[in-house]
Symmetry: C2
Subunit: 341 residues, 2 copies
């Protein structure tokens, strides 16, 4: 069969299993699929097009005959193995935070900046899921009216920390309903029926690394170092689906109807916005969707060039897995896959 | 016993029962306590200082011998009965939305603007719980550096819609965990493990009434019609405790350490802000507290005079019941209770 030899590192993770689904659903040309995981996941079988594939343990030789390696494991795994994959001649599509801001590494949302991959050096990075949900709808607006400043507050689901974090949400939810105490493990405090204004580690500025990255990644994807982003990233007791409340200051006044027209035409974006029947994006309805959902588009009357909106995205799917596969699609379609040496 | 004849209208509600607790805890001078409710709650017994009190049905004659009537029922009940209470010579402390923006009705956060009650006409209004949690910490900062603009995104708990809404959250939580379907009743969509960017009804501007009220009430409490507020009010699957992410633009640059010093001295505010040990306000820890908790105080580096912060409040207690009792305390202490005619 004609196709690419594909590896998934972190195959047993939520995003890893979702990549398998996305490869199936989009008929990505796979000639062979190789699944890798850390010690704990290795040995399991996962199904690709109804065929069981045994998950191997990630090692230096995992990439000796691979065209495209998707990395959806930890930062540590990406830091160690993505360069090994490139050395072996593979394209590494990486969802970790490790390479995103490396100047030589393209940071790609395929609907926005696929051309940035043209001279890739083997690693292509996927932005954070929150960057994707914010920048995908902002890009078409930015093209017609440059964005100056963004104030954003997020509502991020437990799955952003993986399946064990979802289990922790389930356990604590049951404990709270049974009036039992809870013990945080993956989250810094109780997440069941609670809200935590912390995603990632705090920096000296009082912002978290996640909040600062949101701004840095936005600038890189949009090629505009003058856009400033003030973010508050918040964890909420939801399983899947990230949301964000976004206030944007443009260069010139913006009409909310015109903004909605632009967004309705934008690839990767679906406008869900009819207040008369209480229609707006929700994590529950975003789950399983390919698009970033956008709604509550309205003039921000407190700023002469302000617009407010609300977005939701399946943080596993478009936030990581789908975006990664789309990167592979674009790079192969354009013939930018480096031939193995 | 020396004291005031006190009535609570909506006594069986979350806020009504919390008023009883607050009256007990603060030793408010009560000579007699009269509890009223709509048809459904009437007949029940509630306890005040270990004494059972039967709840009567609210009627025109409920206020014939009352000094202070707390209204924590619906807008409809307040609209109809608060004027009756005033006609009967009582002070009506009202938590509904009905009278808040009436020019002759003082809108009071006792730590901020008690003097506004001096010439009250019988009704004193309590701001919305979200206004209270935002304005209480902003007031001391506004005094030293006038606020120009506020961008706020809220995280509001189910209890804002009453105890039945908390029951709906419980039911849907169990249904989701059992992989059963849910049926929204009080909320416009599923609230269990979901996020709804809607609190209240939508206006033509695309903002909800709640979002616009937050701005209007802020201007009234702070006596500053030039402050603008762009709000996104959001319901989250939490039982008690409202949070908000607040970005403030002041008249002059503000130092976050100085802001924290000011807030540390402010009445009704408790600073919980130590990122080095992941300390910040949460709804879970705000529950049962008298103060608005403030944390994540940091320079908003995207605006020359910007400050970002995160707040949490017990929306039932300081958000309604405690604030109402504090209003009664201030007005009686200052001798501003009108003598019955």
């Amino acid at each position: 069969m004609d196709g690419f030899k594909v590896a998934i590192v972190g195959a047993t993770s939520l995003a890893g299993q979702e990549i398998i689904r996305v490869l199936e659903q989009r008929n990505f040309p796979v000639s062979s699929l190789h699944l890798y995981s850390s010690g704990r996941g290795a040995g399991r079988h996962l199904y690709y097009n109804h065929q069981p594939i045994q998950v191997g343990e990630t090692g230096t030789n995992s990439f000796s005959n691979i065209d495209i390696a998707f990395f959806v494991a930890t930062d540590e795994v990406s830091r160690h193995f993505a360069p090994r994959a490139v050395d072996s001649g593979a394209l590494a599509v990486d969802t970790s935070t490790v390479f995103r801001m490396e100047p030589m590494v393209p940071l790609i949302i395929p609907e926005i900046n696929p051309d940035d991959m043209k001279n890739h050096q083997g690693i292509v990075a996927c932005p954070g899921c929150t960057t994707i949900e914010m920048v995908l709808p902002l890009h078409p607006l930015h093209k017609v009216n440059p964005i100056k400043r963004i104030v954003v507050a997020t509502y991020q689901s437990a799955s952003g920390l993986g399946s064990e974090a979802m289990d922790e949400l389930t356990l604590q939810t049951k404990q709270v309903m049974a009036a039992e105490g809870t013990m945080p493990r993956l989250f810094p405090h109780q997440i069941g029926f609670n809200i935590l204004p912390q995603v990632g580690v705090f920096m000296d500025s009082g912002y978290t690394r996640e909040e600062l990255s949101l701004g840095e990644e936005t600038q890189k994807v949009l090629h505009d170092p003058d856009i400033t982003v003030s973010a508050t990233c918040v964890r909420v007791p939801v399983y899947i689906g990230h949301c964000a409340s976004i206030n944007v200051e443009f260069s010139h006044p913006v009409d909310s109807d015109e903004a909605e027209d632009v967004l309705s035409e934008a690839p990767g974006v679906r406008v869900i916005d009819d207040p008369t029947v209480n229609l707006y994006p929700q994590p529950w309805t975003a789950t399983g969707m390919d698009e970033v959902l956008v709604g509550r588009i309205r003039q921000d009357f407190t700023h002469p060039s302000g617009l407010a909106m609300w977005v939701a995205v399946d943080n596993i799917r478009k936030g990581a897995s789908l975006n990664s596969v789309q990167i592979a699609e674009e790079i192969t379609r354009r013939g930018w896959l480096k031939s193995r040496g």
